[in-house]
Symmetry: C2
Subunit: 514 residues, 2 copies
């Protein structure tokens, strides 16, 4: 009877303080969903009529969250004890032994809008605002987010509704203020392995004194994101104050967007979208464009790679997507230009952070073995940004960006940006590698981007920055038996083995030679 | 190094047997969703690129399940350890220390149908069959079930599709074979508090030698289900063999349907439906009618109470629902007749298992204070069953069922059924009660069924069978100050206090007196 917790707990049983429950850590990460765990024997559960998945309001010291209930069988938690998922624990800032209160959560008004949408009604700006506000306030459990995504999936959103959703996402996020008339940006839809143009485009544009404060993502399902690749060369975790200082000095930066939290709504929605794997074009457009606005961008060039194993599979879909993006960009006041590019094979040679950083440096250094496809894609994008922001003709813009690359201005700018972000370092090479050669001769007829990405990931990318693939063949290339197709790089024998196993079982599908 | 588990675990680290993971109990009940818990440090998670909510195939001794991944932070599980939700543990029958294998689950083909449905396409019988089969095989995580429900919600299903869904649900369940031409049944949509007609209808019908093997549910969100109320009088947990024996002898029974598992698909879907609280008329019709077919019923009378705080809120919705149910019933070969009834107030006086059982006995015993509304509703339903199964006129049927009630045949049949199910016992009364009286005079203008039900639940029903309300007023009744409105019964002082607290804060809304 020494501890006050215990006294309080006894108290609870004697006086039936129905809502006093003692917190206990059980360390479960539900991937952000706020979950409360209560034992089936719990008197509060019983008297409140809680069932699993019930939305429960959890109070601690005048702060509250809405959590979904999971019921535990006796053994993990005793009567009078509750646990929270890690995200919920963090939000309430509770520790072992703290006393919590729980009660039924009020029904959410915004669910009525989802219901209306599922009944086929179009929603207005207010409805999207309320839904997105409740999602950001973490009042939606996974099933509600799923219902919202399902309601908005396919072609179920009108163009107006995509505009409203985009605006709603902008409204709940922070916008970076730049105090400049032009802020250039670029975006690529559905990454192709090795397509690391950002790290070439940004220094070219910045070297022309066009501000381009680029925030990029880390890999989610790919072997490398731009933030991972830039991190090979320098620090990418920068707060907004640091971004401002660097851009004031160098006109550009390449930072990790996750550190800046540009779209809190999207961060929550995307984890369900990924698990669900049901496309919603409206959600994708809102996600991309709301982040551009939040980043303070005014002019943005968007690259849509089109190919059978790319995100956008044919030109018809690409054109439809482009038309919608243009309309929504206009609605939210963003000037965009959209380019379609070949999405049928990886870009450059390296796949994985260090190998891609190496390719980027080769292009910027005008090395004779620099990958031409990566260079050309970067030049087209940079030229389009110059046309869009400075109003130059295509020819003028092409010459301008090519000269910035060839005269070393872009390379020097990358070094200066790296210096400003924390110092430049050269990429390293992995210790272990295995060269894969062609078994027979023929022409390369197909490359599966998804399987190539998977192979690089199994080799350890991006967690091991040096891991990945050095990919030596292109579509249409004639191959002799014994020619190198690619080399797998790995940081450990185990990872090299995983990759080799996967290669052996998927051999004919990764690269088709006919 | 004594334990073989530990040896195996070391082995795993040395040789990188990527899929050997040691099972550890953590006792989490996710309400049936199959979940695997893996620590964030886990080498398998990393190399396989698992993220939270990834669908993972978990193997143990040649058996496998598909589970959704939750990632735990270090502390609960170590590297090389995994845990399962209780439902998953049970399905695989694993124990602490067992070695499991995990890998990416193959994408489900049936998700493509859900995608198509979300894109506005109607699905055929094959599509519904595959979706329901995958759900019953527990291959769907909660987000997929939610997406399916969302796709089928509102008016998104055509009548044909509701037929296909119903058939699909029948196809995956067991059907009880009765070897009789007529099997009578009844169903009430959206329970009204106290509406315990089944326990009067079944003995009337059985006493007329019409077979009526009734399977009923326990309370889910209400203060009592028919199974809970029947359990006050006798045993209700019966297997199919016992049902057959009892029905052969007495022509009727009232058993708990949960013990018979009539609709495994519905059992899984309903828990998400409840959390989501988004109506799907198609799902509801398929759920009800598939269970009737599974129970072997041939003729079924369906009661739709209509009222502002009932499930069906107005006559227009009721008629639309009835028309759809009739069409689907025809498709699956079930003869039904639908009745609309008053859904604006509780039925009888007792609310809660024992109090409702007391009302049922009063009616069957022809007590002078038997609730007339309960009696009349039961007689109308019984008469309709007689008309539907024996082809009698309404007048004939009315006289027949009234006489079976009045001459004691129905009461004797209930006693005989109870005897056959395990013996009859009288309901008990709760020790604690609190009488609520009117503060002022006036006429009862509104009763909120939902708040009445909530009050009875807070008092302890159905877990404490004697708990609940004895509800003394009806709509339109003139009340004097000091008149009894209802009495709260509870098994403990704590529960009586919860109920009183709720009453005090909701006083004016439970019963409106103007």
């Amino acid at each position: 009877m020494k501890s006050p917790c215990f006294l309080k707990l006894k108290n609870l049983h004697m006086h039936n303080h129905k809502d006093d429950l003692r917190y206990k850590d059980i360390w479960i990460d539900t991937n952000q969903e706020l979950v409360i765990y209560m034992p089936e024997s719990c008197h509060v559960c019983k008297s409140e009529g809680f069932q699993a998945l019930t939305r429960v309001e959890v109070w601690f010291k005048k702060k509250s969250i809405i959590a979904a209930l999971n019921i535990t069988q006796d053994g993990l938690l005793g009567d009078g004890e509750v646990a929270l998922s890690l995200s919920a624990k963090k939000k309430l800032n509770v520790q072992n032994g703290d006393l919590l209160n729980v009660k039924h959560a009020e029904p959410l008004q915004s669910i009525a809008y989802i219901r209306a949408k599922l009944y086929g009604n179009a929603l207005d700006q207010t409805a999207y605002d309320e839904i997105i506000r409740d999602i950001v306030d973490e009042k939606y459990s996974n099933v509600f987010i799923t219902a919202f995504l399902a309601a908005c999936s396919g072609h179920n959103m009108s163009l107006e509704e995509i505009c409203y959703l985009t605006r709603a996402m902008i409204n709940v996020g922070n916008k970076i203020a730049w105090d400049k008339e032009i802020i250039a940006d670029k975006h690529c839809i559905g990454g192709l392995p090795g397509n690391r143009t950002t790290m070439i485009v940004v220094p070219i544009i910045a070297s022309l004194n066009i501000p381009i404060p680029k925030t990029s993502s880390r890999a989610i399902t790919s072997p490398a994101g731009t933030a991972d690749t830039m991190e090979v060369l320098t620090n990418v975790t920068l707060d907004i104050a640091a971004l401002h200082a660097i851009v004031a000095k160098e006109n550009g930066c390449i930072a990790w967007g996750g550190a800046v939290k540009l779209s809190p709504a999207d961060d929550i929605i995307i984890r369900i979208e990924r698990a669900l794997d049901i496309d919603s074009e409206g959600q994708m457009i809102a996600s991309i464009l709301s982040k551009k606005i939040a980043a303070g961008s005014t002019h943005c060039v968007i690259d849509i790679p089109v190919g059978s194993t790319a995100k956008v599979r044919n030109m018809e879909s690409a054109k439809q997507l482009a038309a919608q993006m243009e309309a929504v960009a206009k609605y939210v006041g963003l000037k965009i230009r959209i380019l379609f590019s070949d999405g049928n094979q990886p870009v450059g040679e390296g796949i994985g952070p260090s190998l891609e950083a190496r390719d980027v440096l080769k292009v910027l250094r005008n090395d004779s073995d620099a990958p031409q496809d990566l260079k050309n894609r970067a030049l087209v994008l940079a030229s389009t940004i110059v046309q869009l922001t400075l109003g130059k003709s295509e020819l003028e813009a092409n010459m301008l960006v090519a000269s910035q690359l060839e005269n070393g201005a872009a390379y020097n700018k990358l070094l200066a940006i790296c210096e400003a972000q924390g110092g430049f370092k050269e990429p390293k090479q992995a210790n272990l590698s295995e060269k894969i050669t062609a078994g027979n001769e023929g022409i390369v007829t197909k490359i599966d981007n998804r399987k190539v990405a998977r192979l690089a990931k199994l080799a350890g990318a991006p967690d091991t920055p040096e891991a990945g693939l050095d990919f030596k063949v292109k579509l249409g290339q004639t191959i002799k038996a014994g020619d190198e197709l690619f080399t797998i790089y790995a940081g450990s024998k185990g990872e090299l083995n995983y990759a080799m196993e996967y290669f052996k079982t998927n051999q004919g599908q990764i690269i088709q030679i006919n």
